[in-house]
Subunit: 108 residues, 2 copies
């Protein structure tokens, strides 16, 4: 699952119950902000919803290494998200990916 | 297509001719690095390939506004990519998306 440099790069695809989408987005946004702010090994979490099918969520995830990922899924903010949204998630698919180029402005 | 703040956020899904995948990745990586380095309005370009289906490419794209996007697709580096890879791309799907949370470490 890891890259040669140890990083874990993944895409999560989720389908959310449309009736609970507003609340789901709030849970996810709070979890992402806390994870990147508080966890040194959570390098990137970018979550979007499809414009024409907003119940379809995609998240690009980058962790520094396996240990960072394992620590992440044991944090209080992740467990709050996972338990709080368990009944909202209709489908979850995790796709291991390999980076080709990851570039962003540093001030955005 | 724009967000309320004017940004354009999109996912591109591409399927590449497997026989030309190494060269395609090189074209794409060069185009992305040049775009983010040289264009103030290209805020983020993150490209990955699926581990188990490496011909499946996904790119998360964020532009500052419509003008930035229109300028981007007229740059020499974008045109080099577009023309150089035209015969490599078997399918291209562009998906407008809405951001839920976009967070990354600033030093990665």
């Amino acid at each position: 699952m890891e890259q040669q440099d140890g990083r874990i790069v993944r895409i999560a695809e989720l389908e959310i119950d449309p009736a609970q989408l507003v609340e789901y987005r709030r849970f996810l946004a709070e979890e992402i902000e806390a994870s990147v702010a508080q966890e040194p090994g959570v390098l990137m979490l970018h979550a979007v919803s499809e414009r024409d099918r907003p119940e379809q969520i995609r998240i690009l995830e980058v962790y520094a290494d396996r240990e960072a990922y394992e620590a992440h899924i044991r944090t209080p903010h992740f467990l709050t998200y996972k338990e709080g949204t368990a009944a909202m998630v209709k489908a979850l698919r995790l796709i291991d990916v390999d980076p080709i180029a990851l570039f962003a402005k540093t001030n955005t």
